[in-house]
């Protein structure tokens, strides 16, 4: 009996061969299917658009509201929003885009946009030119969508993580420290020292937490700019971190660990992340963007009540700082209704009222310059009082630049060596040298 069974198994090789051939054939369709997407459905017939976005109740509601408003003005157009958990969204993009299965519109984080240009349609010139876009949008958010002087999407928000910091007014009141900002770094460090609590040699409350992934990277890069340096060479083909300005920036950051107003071993991205740390009152001040208050306020209303944002001091009189781009609308090359998709994207991003509604619902800072002024600004400030400080610093935000691998630079290079320098495990020179070498490896 057994030999028969084995013969049978051998005779089934064809099953494997057929299955493998079918799979290979189906896989060979990768990258096909671009029909030009002239949007013939837009000429009066019904058009169905699909948007993909990362899952976030406030962002998703803001997109849905824009879609409903657009549908009302364009009967026959139906817009469906599909959402994915953040990590899942990134992985879905990575598989769907090369496979040619992307939807009409992708709600993308601007800093990613240029890495996906093979799969995105450029913004039609007749919709808005790059020059016009540069006038209407803040440079920070728009920079992410500008790849080799071509626009691949339009931002809906400004994503800033530097320029102002969370300050617990109750703790500041008890310690007699400032809450209106500081003229110099020495003043800030002195206040942070007063707010730091050390018991039995262990830091149980940090005065100023800036040692998370984004906080440390944005602090370091912004301080290089403010010191008069640049972290990229002129043509953007190499990092220049091991410079006198780089040393000045890292030395200043290290002085805060030495003061000490932060213990980088106890307060970093993995342990006591700045948002958690601040709202659980383990930190008196913290460097994080304006979204954090809206995010944490429902769970920590008392702390949110005692929170203001205060402007960071300048270095060498410069207030310029680096910022990532923001979330915005892009249209995929797979879209068969590209014209309608762009029309909706234009409505959501260029229509000042629709853009304000997006910012109000999502609790984000505007990407449109005109929405940071006048009535729109007042409306946003009345909804989010802590935005006031951010409106002051927003014009100083400069897009971080087209980096070959932004995440690797931030999470693996600046963070690791920055913390090592702050802990004293690496000297300033060693850290800068290692950062520059490793950062330049990302250019490939």
């Amino acid at each position: 009996m057994k030999p028969n069974v084995f013969r049978s198994i051998r005779s089934m090789r064809w099953v494997l061969v057929v299955a493998s051939t079918m799979l290979l054939a189906s896989a060979c369709t990768f990258g096909e299917g671009d029909d030009g997407g002239n949007g013939d459905g837009g000429a009066g017939g019904s058009v169905e658009l699909t948007i993909w976005a990362h899952r976030s109740p406030s962002f998703n509601q803001a997109i849905r509201d824009a879609a409903r408003a657009y549908e009302e003005d364009h009967p026959g157009t139906v817009i469906t929003l599909e959402t994915f958990a953040y990590d899942e969204y990134i992985q879905t993009l990575q598989t769907a885009l090369p496979a040619g299965n992307a939807p009409d519109i992708l709600h993308l984080f601007g800093t990613w946009a240029c890495t996906y240009t093979d799969f995105l349609r450029p913004v039609p010139e007749e919709m808005i030119s790059l020059a016009d876009a540069q006038e209407r949008f803040f440079p920070g958010p728009l920079g992410g969508y500008t790849c080799d002087d071509t626009l691949y999407g339009l931002p809906q928000e400004s994503n800033v993580e530097y320029g102002a910091i969370l300050v617990n007014t109750q703790m500041a009141g008890e310690a007699g420290t400032g809450t209106d900002g500081w003229a110099t770094w020495d003043e800030l460090i002195a206040d942070a020292q007063d707010l730091t609590v050390i018991q039995d040699g262990a830091m149980i409350r940090a005065g100023y937490h800036f040692t998370a992934f984004d906080g440390l990277a944005h602090s370091f890069l912004s301080l290089i700019l403010q010191a008069g340096g640049s972290y990229l060479n002129e043509d953007g083909t190499a990092f220049t971190l091991n410079t006198p300005e780089g040393a000045q920036a890292l030395t200043l950051l290290k002085s805060m660990a030495d003061a000490p107003v932060i213990d980088p071993v106890l307060f970093n991205d993995e342990e006591n992340w700045v948002g958690d740390c601040y709202f659980t009152e383990l930190c008196a001040m913290g460097l994080v963007g304006p979204w954090a208050v809206a995010d944490y306020a429902p769970d920590y209303p008392e702390v949110a009540e005692n929170t203001v944002y205060a402007k960071l001091p300048p270095l060498e009189d410069s207030e310029e700082f680096v910022a990532d781009s923001g979330w915005g609308m892009t249209v995929s090359t797979d879209s068969p209704n590209a014209e309608v998709a762009w029309d909706f994207a234009a409505f959501a991003t260029l229509d000042a009222e629709a853009a304000t509604q997006f910012n109000l619902t999502s609790g984000t800072l505007p990407a449109l310059v005109e929405n940071a002024e006048g009535a729109a600004r007042d409306e946003l400030i009345s909804a989010f009082p802590h935005f006031e400080t951010w409106f002051e610093v927003l014009p100083n935000a400069r897009f971080v630049g087209q980096l070959p691998d932004r995440d690797k630079l931030y999470y693996e290079i600046i963070y690791n060596h920055g913390l090592a320098a702050l802990r004293g495990d690496e000297t300033i020179e060693q850290a800068l040298q290692a950062m520059e070498t490793e950062a330049n490896e990302t250019f490939g």
């Binding site: 013969r7 049978s8 089934m12 099953v15 299955a19 990768f30 885009l97 262990a202 071993v265 993995e270």
Partner: protein
């Protein structure tokens, strides 16, 4: 009559008779499983192997044939060649690969013996208690196996939190001094060359995993014929002698199975590292599985990640073979 015989003979030739029916039955029964394996096991392995020869990133379109070639160029054995660069000039990717191999081997070679050292005596002890108490102990020790590994990682994260963690709180109570130790975040906490952060992940893994091997050993202990141990007892053997010279040798196939299964799962642990430490501090807990995931999905270096996964596969394969050879036994009871 003759025509009936001819008809039957034709039918036999056409369908292969009883043997043909058996073949068709086996084919029908096994095809779904083989197709399933081909799609979900063989193809991904072949695909990973193929990717490892390309500088492949899903951000680039590449050629129309599976996206390979073009902007995702063929690099041959370049990834594997880079992995053998042990100089101080090696790139960050390569250095992290070396760290990953070291961390993974350290993790597996600590976890496997410690796991066996805990589970085997534990199983023997549970088997020695009263019949009514036995299921209670089995349930208690098996419960963590049922817990979600992410949940376990979060729970251990709470226990080990520097300011609010249970462990530091207990130490503070005992010493009367405020104790704030970063068990998972201090790169300078290293004992006998092993980072404490890694030891903490090992502790969490063992807590979660020992119930599994314990059940395997209990089943094996129950399968040992009573007559063998009774005979030893009649011959005057002590409990230790019975365990050392009878139970342990008879458990050898089970020890082999448990050690191979534990070794393989230890090499593949990802969730605990991802949730508890994310590879930090200073990459001290950057296991290969985590490094592969990060390279592939965070940094989009699929080709490099595929090459690392091939190496991980080979390491597990070779170690399993060695284990099987060292612990093999030629007899049954």
């Amino acid at each position: 009559m003759a025509s009936e015989t001819i008809r039957l003979e034709r039918r036999r030739r056409l369908f292969g008779g009883r043997e043909g029916a058996q073949k068709r039955f086996v084919t029908a029964v096994m095809s779904p499983a083989i197709v399933f394996m081909a799609i979900f096991m063989v193809l991904p392995i072949v695909w990973a192997l193929a990717l490892s020869f390309f500088d492949f990133s899903p951000r680039r379109t590449g050629s129309p044939i599976l996206g390979l070639g073009g902007d995702n160029p063929f690099v041959g054995l370049e990834h594997y060649r880079q992995m053998t660069d042990f100089s101080s000039d090696a790139t960050l990717n390569v250095r992290q690969f070396h760290i990953g191999v070291k961390v993974t081997l350290l993790f597996a070679f600590i976890v496997v013996p410690v796991n066996l050292l805990i589970t085997l005596p534990l199983a023997a002890m549970i088997e020695s208690v009263h019949d009514r108490a036995r299921p209670i102990f089995r349930t208690i020790f098996f419960l963590p196996v049922l817990a979600s590994s992410v949940g376990v990682a979060i729970m251990w994260g709470f226990i080990l939190h520097p300011q609010n963690g249970l462990l530091n709180l207990m130490i503070s109570k005992m010493t009367g001094k405020t104790t704030v130790i970063s068990w998972l975040g201090d790169p300078d906490l290293v004992y006998f060359g092993v980072p404490v952060a890694l030891l903490m992940v090992i502790a969490a893994y063992l807590w979660m995993d020992i119930g599994y091997n314990m059940v395997i050993f209990i089943a094996a202990l129950q399968a040992i014929p009573r007559s063998v141990t009774d005979a030893a007892r009649v011959d005057g053997a002590s409990a230790w002698q019975i365990f050392r010279h009878i139970t342990l040798p008879l458990l050898r196939p089970t020890i082999l199975l448990a050690s191979i299964l534990t070794m393989i799962s230890a090499f593949q642990v990802f969730d605990l590292f991802q949730v508890m430490t994310e590879g930090r501090p200073d990459d001290q807990t950057l296991a290969m599985s985590l490094n592969i995931y990060r390279s592939a999905f965070r940094y989009q270096q699929m080709g490099w990640a595929a090459a690392m996964s091939v190496v991980l596969f080979l390491i597990v394969f070779v170690i399993s073979l060695v284990q099987a050879r060292l612990l093999r036994t030629k007899w049954e009871y």
